[in-house]
Symmetry: C2
Subunit: 192 residues, 2 copies
């Protein structure tokens, strides 16, 4: 139990997902923005939030279409995810530049990133201004999952095979050692 | 690029942080709830959101005090974090049962978990009902960081030394291989 230093308010919740959010109208306008301020906020209905600065190119697109797709990032995609977080869709066709394939979402005209292992299609329910960022509060409409992550016999999703990436204090990490499954602390006790 | 299966809406954004949220009034009432639906939602001011089911014991506590603390979870704490997500504060004094030390927060009477490497003290600004969960939208008031994570010479925070834990599709993972620092994809290009 170490002594603590007291810091001013700052964004210190780690690790977070670093996800590529795709937006626009397929195939006319397809853009990608990488966001770290993203999360699940409700189970039923399944809801996500992403926070975006007003000045970002994707802000007005999502504000206008009210649709976006959260594309999960794996080790193969970490380079393009980083690049899409640094560069602006004002200057680049990010799909083309990164060699990513846009496909039409199942439930809207929003593009999804074909190479991402999981695509979460969302409809914006509310935009909440907070300060530097506005929060886009959204309901999940549909989820696409790469076939090769699904056990052919059981139908179970082997998410650990996806090679997902976490972001912590400015660095990207692969997921490392599995430390336990939800509820493992209770199962341990029952075995005693 | 694998073929995709289309699923109904579900909570598939991974990995997420699994954090222990402490609440109550130190030292009279100190409780802990582990939440996976937590994230940063704004940089300036620094803001976090956590989502909690109405029926959870901590819901009414945080609704009443309007304060909570997000305590980051490392490998040493993953067992108690899991346990605090399964068990209810109605039945257990979770601090005592888990051998955790409550301390008074810097900016409120809310308890913090001394053993956690980073404590993020928050004030609730808004409670947004969403469905199964309500979202507690909060501003960060202060952050406490374990002294041994801070480089004595430079003052830099070595968050990678904290051994933080991510949660993905029902399993806890340590952070693994470092894959790059924010902006690495652009620096690579400049070296060419």
């Amino acid at each position: 139990m170490a002594y603590k230093q007291i810091w001013k308010p700052c964004t210190m919740l780690n690790p977070v997902p670093a996800v590529m959010v795709s937006c626009g109208v397929f195939p006319l306008q397809c853009n990608i923005i990488t966001v770290a301020w993203a999360g699940t906020v409700c189970s039923h209905p399944a809801m996500c939030s992403i926070s975006i600065r007003k000045e970002r190119f994707s802000y007005k697109i999502i504000e206008s279409t009210r649709k976006f797709v959260i594309n999960l990032v794996n080790r193969e995609l970490v380079g393009v995810a980083d690049w899409c977080g640094v560069k602006s869709g004002r200057d680049f066709d990010k799909f083309a530049y990164c060699g990513l394939t846009p496909l039409k979402a199942e439930t809207s005209d929003c593009p999804i990133i074909a190479q991402s292992p999981v695509n979460i299609e969302c409809s914006v329910k509310q935009i909440i201004p907070l300060g530097s960022h506005d929060m886009f509060l959204a309901e999940v409409d549909s989820v696409s999952v790469a076939d090769d992550l699904i056990d052919k016999k059981t139908g179970a999703l082997n998410m650990s095979d996806a090679g997902l990436v976490a972001y912590s204090h400015g660095k990207y990490y692969g997921l490392g050692q599995e430390l336990g499954r939800f509820g493992f602390s209770v199962k341990k006790q029952q075995k005693k």
